[in-house]
Symmetry: C2
Subunit: 239 residues, 2 copies
């Protein structure tokens, strides 16, 4: 299933983000009211299911998106099928590669999600006309670059144990903590996706998770719901 066939969530007032400038800043926080109105007229807010491919690797796409809820994975696949997740995006991130039509990677909803879909031509125009928007997108690109480089260190130099701990830590930082040290969350990724993010196999991921469970570093419910009693413990393993 792709975006075109996904459910339109609010059709009448497409609502790029009129009501959410403060909370969902990347695109909308940088626009004037007039610009927002124009953007609204040409944009849609959609609900997409987990697994929905928002942008396909190697394809040209005519729209950008802004994540309003849920998690999106950025993925590269090799001709022989090996694949690597190269980034996770959360609300309120912008999805799409400004200035380049063809995508070098796919963007897929990892969980059920809601996105605002903007026409590329219109947003490109607004980017060139609006230094503040350019700046917002530049900032996000720099944050993604920092994240990508941090992950390169994980991929190149950390052990399987450290990799899995790093992933749990990364996801945990996007959940709100229960207490000072304890955090609970649902993993947005399957074991296979975690493996593709960490450059490991499913089996190795599973073994490390059960090892952490037996050590009491985490509690696992239904394989997806994770409780971390002590984040410091997890961070320590991360190295």
């Amino acid at each position: 299933m792709d975006v075109a066939s996904s459910e339109v969530f609010e059709a009448v007032v497409p609502l790029a983000c009129r009501s959410c400038q403060a909370r969902h800043g990347v695109v909308c926080g940088a626009l004037s009211n007039d610009q927002l109105k124009e953007l609204n007229r040409h944009s849609l807010r959609r609900k997409v299911d987990a697994g929905c491919e928002i942008i396909a690797q190697g394809s040209e796409s005519s729209f950008y998106s802004n994540i309003m809820r849920g998690v999106v994975k950025l993925c590269k696949v090799m001709p022989d099928g090996r694949q690597q997740i190269v980034g996770l995006q959360f609300a309120p991130d912008f999805v799409g590669r400004p200035f380049v039509r063809e995508s070098a990677l796919s963007a897929e909803a990892a969980t059920d999600a809601e996105i605002c879909v903007f026409p590329r031509n219109l947003l490109d125009r607004m980017i060139s006309e609006t230094p503040e928007l350019q700046r917002s997108l530049h900032d996000q690109a720099l944050r993604e670059l920092d994240a990508a480089r941090e992950w390169m260190l994980t991929l190149g130099r950390r052990t399987a144990e450290e990799k899995v701990a790093s992933l749990l830590h990364l996801i945990a930082t996007h959940a709100e903590p229960q207490t000072a040290t304890c955090t609970a969350f649902d993993l947005p990724l399957s074991r296979a996706e975690i493996a593709d993010f960490l450059g490991l196999t499913i089996e190795t991921v599973s073994r490390q998770m059960t090892k952490f469970r037996k050590q009491g570093v985490i509690l696992i419910e239904n394989s997806r719901h994770i409780i971390v009693p002590d984040m410091d413990e997890l961070e320590r393993i991360t190295a």
Copy 2:
């Protein structure tokens, strides 16, 4: 040795890049003549030796640079000493992280190099005043992001053989080809640095290189000078 103690190459007219707008675009190509003159007044062109640390990981730096000649490696090191090169930069790349004072990585000259050194405050002001410069830097950030993600695939999913071929291919694309298929170049990195870029050990890198040599994929002179008779062959190994 750090930048402050490096040789000032042209002291009298610091010459951010007046003479090189066309060729060395990232910063200078986006500025007006008046801006260039002001930037020149406060900038220096420096010659730095291989190994010179331009920015230290974890430190605050008060300047940006633009690479005019040579290769710069971006490196992250872990508390226990493991390290990962997370990017290579070539002329005319911009070095430094706009908007954030503290650097999450070190930038070190991999070869002898020349850089233009700009004061951070001045350039920050010019960035906010000059949408075209913002755009240039945004473009570079996006190019670096693409490169980082491509490399994540290499680190996470390619074999040692494919990794070494990928590195040779990457370096080769920055050298001008001898003929349609043949390219020759000097490696800007030692075996240890290549290992740190590929997430391998020195020994594995060396073994893969000699394997390629014995297979006739490359010729090696002095361990640093490489001749690739057939780039297609190399690309095929890359997978």
